[in-house]
């Protein structure tokens, strides 16, 4: 039983510890390393495109991680590191696109669509209200209705 248990525990635990950032890349300073991790999570891997470089195993992603750490060691701020990489790979490398004229549509569409949907919804609700407030029947009409109901009840078809 023991013979089976040990490999089983390893099999379950090993994948959990698997990550792209390898020990030899990490910085000795835990504060800088933490900042490097934060930056890497906002940078897109240019090979696997929908993955950040922090979790990507691609060669270029590893090079970029090393570059991020190198810049941090040279005293760059987080923004400076981002700008350095953006200058080489363009806006595309940022997982969060910047807000500027060419991205107005990207950022604005969800808001605009929400507003349109709200307007439509409001319109429909209001129309429903208006319909329920029908003008009341006149006295003559009331009498007509009463007569009709009486006739129906007594079974007289006329």
């Amino acid at each position: 039983m023991h013979r089976l248990l040990v490999p089983l525990v390893f099999m379950i635990l090993l994948p959990l510890s698997a990550q792209a950032v390898e020990p030899d890349e990490m910085l000795a300073d835990p504060v800088l390393e933490e900042r490097a991790r934060v930056i890497s999570k906002d940078l897109r891997c240019v090979v696997c495109q929908n993955q950040d470089i922090d979790s990507s195993n691609a060669g270029v992603a590893r090079d970029l991680r090393l570059l991020v750490r190198e810049r941090l060691l040279e005293g760059d701020s987080n923004n400076q590191v981002m700008a350095y990489i953006q200058a080489r790979y363009g806006d595309y490398v940022l997982l969060k696109p910047p807000f500027k004229p060419s991205t107005y549509a990207l950022w604005g569409t969800p808001i605009a669509l929400t507003l349109i949907a709200l307007l439509f919804g409001l319109n429909i609700v209001m129309r429903g209200r208006r319909k329920s407030a029908l003008p009341e029947l006149t006295e003559a009409e009331e009498r007509q209705v009463a007569k009709f109901i009486d006739n129906e009840k007594s079974g007289d078809p006329s």
């Binding site: 240019v46 090979v47 495109q49 060669g59 270029v60 090079d63 570059l67 080489r88 790979y89 363009g90």
Partner: protein, 187 residues
Amino acid sequence: MKRILAFAPLVIAVIFGGFFLWGLNPNRDPSEIPSVLIEQPAPEFELAAVEGLETPGLSRADLTGHDRPIVLNVFASWCVPCRAEHTVLTNLVERDGIRLFGINYKDKPKDAVRWLANLGNPYERIGSDLNGRIGIEWGISGVPESFIIGTDGTVLFRYVGPVVGDEAIAKFREALTQAGALEERNS
């Protein structure tokens, strides 16, 4: 107002239809990343020669001052598509007189020397980018990649992936012609 609203479904259908048509275009490559280098000056760099190779190393200054735009190709011996592309590049150099420069990307010098000895060496100069740092300066996402660089050092065109197959070659030749590196031929 109501009449105008009656056209709303049609307008929406046209907008979505247009979007789908654009999305279905087989020539559109959704994974294409626009290069920031186009129309920009080439990055500064200086690379030593590949160890054991007679071809000299490469720096930014070597790319400028030629009478025609030149081609910079990023390659590696471990990259299989590069092998296929090698023939195309050799043809461009030998038949069309294109001037070709190379960056040997993250390659063991020994392997690169053997690779070039086997296939031939069409490169005028080759810089050895052992750690891939200059590759990042060029914003590459992998090998091979090819750039067309104007006489003043401006990056004119970037091709990601191997220039292999009729379509890719035609596209690359067209870019070369537009850049003025290739004479237009009527054949």
